[in-house]
Assembly symmetry: C2
Homo-oligomer: 282 residues x 2
């Protein structure tokens, strides 16, 4: 199976529409139709049910969509990592570290500092990403290491080391009635009618339904919180980044959050190994 065929199939499976998929791929619709039915013939499997008004995935099609995405990610990763390895030879060596905007900046600062002191340390490019985005960067080789948050981020298929486990706090605008409390139950904050939880875009770029405001970045969230439009629940260490108009109250029964450093298995990179070692010494 060629990656081109996989890309074609994934496009159709995502759009569930040959015309739009073809447009997205920058080709005409007929060759796309042909490529898909040829793929189906070679696999001996019906991947899509076309019933003249709509296209739907079969069971086998769903499997290929899943596995195909993973395979395309792996191919892309091979490409990226090779390019970066070639750069390393010319003395342009660097590691890309992906981290969530909300992650503990204190921990990150200490990590970068500790790593910089290593012999043979190279330039670390820090990429701040939205939630769930680090996983994608790691899988496609656009990042070499990532800071992730268990149990929120998917760790499957990565090597990881735990760095820090902490409780969570709720963030209120100063003056909110609950800021007088010294601790809260999770149940007290999840269903506040005046402060709904914000909604993040899913992997498909759309927002789940709900009352909360839509947000794409951490700074947006902080601003929304200051304005009293939403309630944040974040790891304890995020308190240090708050300014005066925001107040944090610990939530005693919220699940603990573990900050981990993650990297693709079989990483051959010296720099990644050094970074992880530095992280473990913190």
């Amino acid at each position: 199976m060629e990656t081109r065929e996989l890309r074609y199939f994934v496009a159709v499976a995502e759009e569930l529409h040959f015309g739009r998929a073809a447009q997205r791929l920058g080709i005409a619709q007929p060759p796309l139709s042909r490529a898909i039915s040829q793929l189906e013939r070679r696999l001996g499997a019906t991947l899509l049910k076309r019933d003249s008004r709509s296209v739907t995935l079969t069971e086998a099609g769903a499997v290929l969509l899943h596995e195909g995405r993973a395979a395309l990610d792996a191919v892309e990763a091979a490409e990226h990592r090779t390019r970066r390895a070639a750069l390393a030879v010319t003395g342009q060596a660097s590691v890309v570290l992906a981290t969530k905007a909300g992650a503990s900046s204190e921990l990150l600062a200490k990590l970068l500092h500790a790593y910089a002191a290593e012999p043979g340390a190279v330039n670390v490019e820090v990429v701040l990403c939205g939630p769930g985005e680090q996983e994608r960067l790691l899988r496609t080789g656009r990042a070499d290491v990532a800071i992730l948050h268990h149990p929120f981020d998917v760790l499957t298929g990565f090597d990881t080391e735990e760095l820090l486990t902490e409780g969570q706090v709720a963030i209120f605008p100063a003056g909110h009635p609950l800021t007088t409390r010294t601790s809260l139950q999770l149940s007290e904050v999840t269903e506040l009618p005046d402060l709904p939880l914000p909604r993040w875009p899913g992997n498909d770029g759309t927002y789940p339904d709900g009352p909360g405001p839509e947000a794409q970045s951490h700074s947006q969230l902080l601003q929304l919180t200051s304005l009293g439009r939403t309630l944040l629940v974040v790891p304890d260490s995020a308190r240090s980044q708050l300014n005066d108009d925001l107040v944090a109250v610990p939530i005693v029964d919220a699940p603990e959050v573990t900050t981990v450093i993650a990297w693709p298995p079989h990483s051959r990179s010296r720099a990644v190994a050094d970074l992880v070692r530095a992280a473990l010494r913190l």
Copy 2:
């Protein structure tokens, strides 16, 4: 990058010889040379150093070999799993379970029995493989689940559950002087001049150097042991498969062996989930 290009590069990187690689790929040498240099141009990286008498991998080439193999495995897995998913629809559903020839047959029997009792259980194809081979089967989608042995098998990138942890025993032919002992130290058996440890073929199909006999299968090993040509060190539970001319002696300080059940992350298969659940209930 197309999988064809990756296959071409991997072939050359493994053979380190354009002519042989071309032969292996079933094409002529010139188009292969062209394909590789085109790939190098597109990646902007030198992958191979050709110094007129020999071909060697560059640093970037080594990375692409590594990552490329993983990517090709992922593509192959997508293909296999889609085919099997399509079969499942026609009522031909089955799971492929890969296990090492030496693994506890008792545990396996119990597992298969427990799973068969599940509602919705499907046919389980058991594949016996040589050491290290299960990993490959799982990665390429030719198997859905595997029984592996930590710390001997590579578990990276798989989801796993531990099933059984046990010590190891040395296997001697009946009448060997050490069979009078009730326990042994690891150091007492690793360097016996009369009974060298056997040699397994590596992933490249060649045997490491050493005094021990070469072996490809578990039954070969048992026979070699009966003949007094080699010494076996195996998990405790393997004793049950021995016949009378072999004697097992526990090794007190050998590393413990954990039998685990492993499956590819993000497995969407109902049967795999049921199998794992059945295994955990044992």
